[in-house]
Symmetry: C2
Subunit: 155 residues, 2 copies
């Protein structure tokens, strides 16, 4: 019976129609590749691209000492960083680019807040390759495991 189902299955063209790229300030090779890939797909298929960056505030051990001014500075940095990505994507030819900012633990914010409201069918993340070794970061791993959408880890 399994064979019948299998034989009946017909291949259909498929592409993604709503892309969410997760970036961070750590502009390594895999982040650039992920951005190139996201822009290419968004341009070729003329689909919306959301670019999300998250201000990490989840770890109080690190951030509890940040003053409101320092937090505000970090927010400004993230906005500037995100705007750079948006401008580059637009200059490349992506029509619909939306900057999205979150605050908290990156994977949780993306999974529970940004993705449910932006509603992507593909989430694009870098692998945060360190010094030539391929390894997958915690954020990428958590998103790959739990997202409702497809996830591509770009190396």
């Amino acid at each position: 019976m399994a064979e019948e189902t299998e034989e009946d299955f017909v291949v259909e063209s498929m592409h993604y129609s709503r892309l969410l790229l997760a970036v961070d300030d750590d502009d390594d090779d895999s982040s650039h590749k992920a951005f190139n890939y996201a822009c290419t797909v968004a341009k070729v298929y003329e689909v919306p691209l959301g670019i999300v960056s998250v201000l990490e505030t989840g770890d109080l051990n690190i951030y509890q000492s940040l003053s409101p001014d320092m937090l505000s500075d970090r927010r400004s940095e993230i906005v500037a960083h995100l705007n750079t990505y948006v401008e580059k994507a637009q200059a490349f030819g992506v029509q619909d680019v939306q900057p999205l900012i979150g605050e908290g633990k990156p994977a949780r914010v993306i999974l529970e807040d940004i993705a449910p409201s932006f509603n992507p069918d593909l989430i694009i993340v870098g692998s945060h390759t360190a010094r030539g070794h391929s390894h997958i970061g915690h954020v990428a791993s958590e998103i790959a495991r739990e997202a409702n959408a497809s996830v591509i880890i770009v190396r």
Copy 2:
């Protein structure tokens, strides 16, 4: 200095040029979507598509009782299954489709044997969605974490 590097970065078109699709006998929705996606990309960009299926022999608790005849039957099933995929991909319009068979623990065989010899830049796996819940299977998770290539988990 970080801002300078970031500003200097230029977006470049990027697509994958050698695709490896991992399939198994569990023909769920995510497997079919993964196959659709793999065939679409391989056809649009006219790039080679390898399709790998692994005969699980790693778990002796389950398989130690399999006679040589039963193993041989399982091999034949996997070959037939793989041939079905190859024929469907070719009928869809993928020019270069290569069936690849492994034996052992699926993730290890794919990561240590199939991928290094086929040398894909993108590995495509289904998420093995069970009854509407999105969850990522062990094999997909292990491949996503450890592969040298980009990995897409199709849901």
